[in-house]
């Protein structure tokens, strides 16, 4: 219970800090202090100065931040400067596409990474171990975006590209976990009693490592979002990753801020769930 409360407090503090970072970025981005009246030649310099001072007072960072949070708490993350569409609406449209890609990619990477790790550990044979390391090493050497481009041109599902990009990142941890597990006295005893490999894998390995594997799944989700950004942008997938890049290149600060707030919330939530799962281990 104490851990849950501590994670909840961390979640709130980190999201508030993330919001502050986002608001500070908007507030101090170039051009924020300009006003439409700047372009009006009929307005005197003194009036312009007064208008700028007024805007400066209204938009001091603390005031700006409190207002931004108040609007965000009502679900209003502002309007995209570039696309002229409310940020919440954009996120509602794009997030499911990314969520689907990330979930497929993570699940695939998790399963393939697990199988490769099992191949490296279970047979206790140098050739299998070397083969597993070679596959992982080769995949780690290819930028995820290049992998995705190859898959895109050969019309292979991009979720698989994301899985292969995540595989080497998960393989190392999974191999270490399985290595510990297969060296445990309980498992050695089960082997000596002649219990079959599948029963051992299910009873002694999957059950024993489940909490850590769940925590690792959470970490993989976060990694997957990072890899999804270039994949979506390069392969023309209309997801939130591509939207983040569009926001950055067009300096669409309201959109970037809204995304920062949402991403911080979900990543912290995933880390908190992973922490709790790890704690149970």
């Amino acid at each position: 219970m104490r851990k849950v409360v501590s994670n909840l407090v961390t979640l709130i503090v980190v999201v508030l800090a993330g919001g502050f970072l986002a608001a500070a970025l908007v507030r101090y981005s170039p051009g924020f202090d300009s006003i439409p009246e700047d372009l009006n030649p009929d307005i005197s310099p003194a009036t312009l100065r007064a208008l700028h001072e007024q805007r400066g007072r209204e938009n001091s960072l603390p005031v700006f931040y409190v207002r931004y949070l108040a609007r965000a708490s009502r679900g209003d993350l502002g309007v995209s400067q570039n696309l002229k569409v409310p940020v919440t609406e954009l996120l509602r449209e794009r997030a499911p596409v990314t969520a689907k890609l990330i979930l497929w990619g993570t699940a695939g990477g998790w399963v393939l990474g697990g199988l490769l790790a099992w191949m490296a550990v279970w047979p206790r044979h140098t050739a299998f171990e070397a083969a597993a390391f070679s596959v992982s090493g080769l995949l780690l050497a290819i930028p995820p975006a290049v992998l995705a481009l190859g898959f895109f041109f050969y019309q292979v599902p991009l979720g698989l590209a994301l899985s292969l990009a995540l595989l080497p990142r998960l393989f190392g941890t999974m191999r270490a976990l399985l290595d510990d597990c297969y060296a445990s006295p309980a498992l050695l005893a089960a082997r000596s009693r002649g219990i079959g490999p599948i029963a051992i894998a299910l009873r002694y390995v999957v059950l024993a490592t489940a909490p850590q594997l769940i925590a690792l799944f959470g970490v993989a989700l976060v990694l997957a979002f990072g890899s999804a950004i270039p994949i979506e942008a390069l392969c023309g997938v209309p997801g939130a990753g591509a939207l983040a890049l569009e926001a950055a290149t067009s300096r669409d600060m309201p959109l970037l801020c809204g995304m920062a707030l949402i991403v911080t919330f979900f990543v912290t939530l995933v880390h908190a769930v992973g922490d709790l799962a790890g704690e149970r281990a």
Binding site: T10, V13, V14, A17, G18, L21, A22, L25, Y28, S29, P30, E129, F133, G137, L138, L140, A141, I142, P143, P144, A145, V146, L149, F153, G172, V222, L223, F225, G226, S227, I229, P230, A233, L234, A244, L245, A247, A248, T249, R251, M253, L256, M259, A260, V263, T264, V267, T268, H271
Partner: protein, 257 residues
């Protein structure tokens, strides 16, 4: 395996360092009469859309990517050490930075800075931001180690003996952190090389006409050209070779081999 990796990395680093002497042409020189030329004696890897010699550009790109990734890794390690040494006061900052995927944090910071910059400024921005955005993971590891060290009896003894905090850090604590710092530095270099490649593909990396592995890989977005000139794949092949060599020297592999 390790010897081959070391030899390859030395060769690539030497080629990068001596790029101006090894490259037949300047990286920006255009041969307007021969755009997209195939490989020949004059252009060993052919030319790109703008008639620039691919081989020369690859050598200069290697210089940018392979020499600046360690610099960015060093920046990350120094920031991580500083934040970890500052104690719990700044640990919240680590949590915040870990709450944003690295590339997302990078593009947020990149968006605040000018996008149309001179090539040299774009190098500094790209690798500087990588260093700044990537300190949180090593900081997490340093923080855990420093927490353990702070509880050590020998540290309390050193404090009780009146040794100054700076001396304690340099003589007592740093030797314990050095190995972790070196390991983290070695882990960050390949990840920064890969990140630069991804950012270059997205157009957020080093600005043209200066070449980097990232912006050379952008040619892969036109796969139809690969059949005519397979040398387009040369930057990818070199990147992969360097990554595999760095992996072979990766600290975690020492446990396995």
């Amino acid at each position: 395996m390790k010897r081959a990796a070391v030899i390859l990395l030395i060769l690539v680093t030497l080629a990068a360092l001596f790029a101006p002497y090894l490259a037949p042409y300047d990286y920006g020189r255009q041969f307007r009469e021969s755009p997209n030329a195939p490989a020949s004696r004059r252009f060993p890897m052919g030319t790109d859309d703008l008639g620039r010699d691919r081989f020369s550009r690859l050598l200069y790109a290697t210089r940018v990517s392979i020499l600046l990734a360690p610099a960015a890794a060093l920046v990350s390690i120094l920031i991580a050490l500083f934040v970890s040494a500052a104690g719990p006061a700044l640990s919240g900052l680590t949590t915040l930075c870990l709450s944003l995927p690295w590339i997302f944090l990078f593009i947020i910071l990149r968006a605040v800075l000018p996008l149309n910059t001179r090539p040299l400024a774009s190098i500094l921005i790209t690798f500087g931001l990588m260093g700044i955005a990537g300190w949180a993971w090593p900081a997490r590891i340093f923080t855990a180690s420093i927490r353990r060290i702070r509880q050590a009896g020998w540290l309390l003894q050193a404090r009780a003996a009146g040794i100054s905090p700076l001396r304690i850090w340099l003589v007592q604590v740093w030797p314990h952190l050095r190995a972790i710092a070196i390991a983290q530095f070695r882990v960050l270099i390949p990840s920064y090389i890969l990140s630069e490649a991804s950012l270059g593909l997205l157009g957020l990396g080093v600005a043209e006409p200066l070449p980097s592995w990232g912006n050379l890989l952008a040619e892969l977005q036109h796969p139809d050209r690969i059949r005519d000139n397979p040398w387009i794949l040369a930057p990818l092949a070199l990147l992969m070779l360097v990554m595999i060599a760095l992996e072979a020297l990766h600290p975690s592999r020492e446990v396995v081999t």
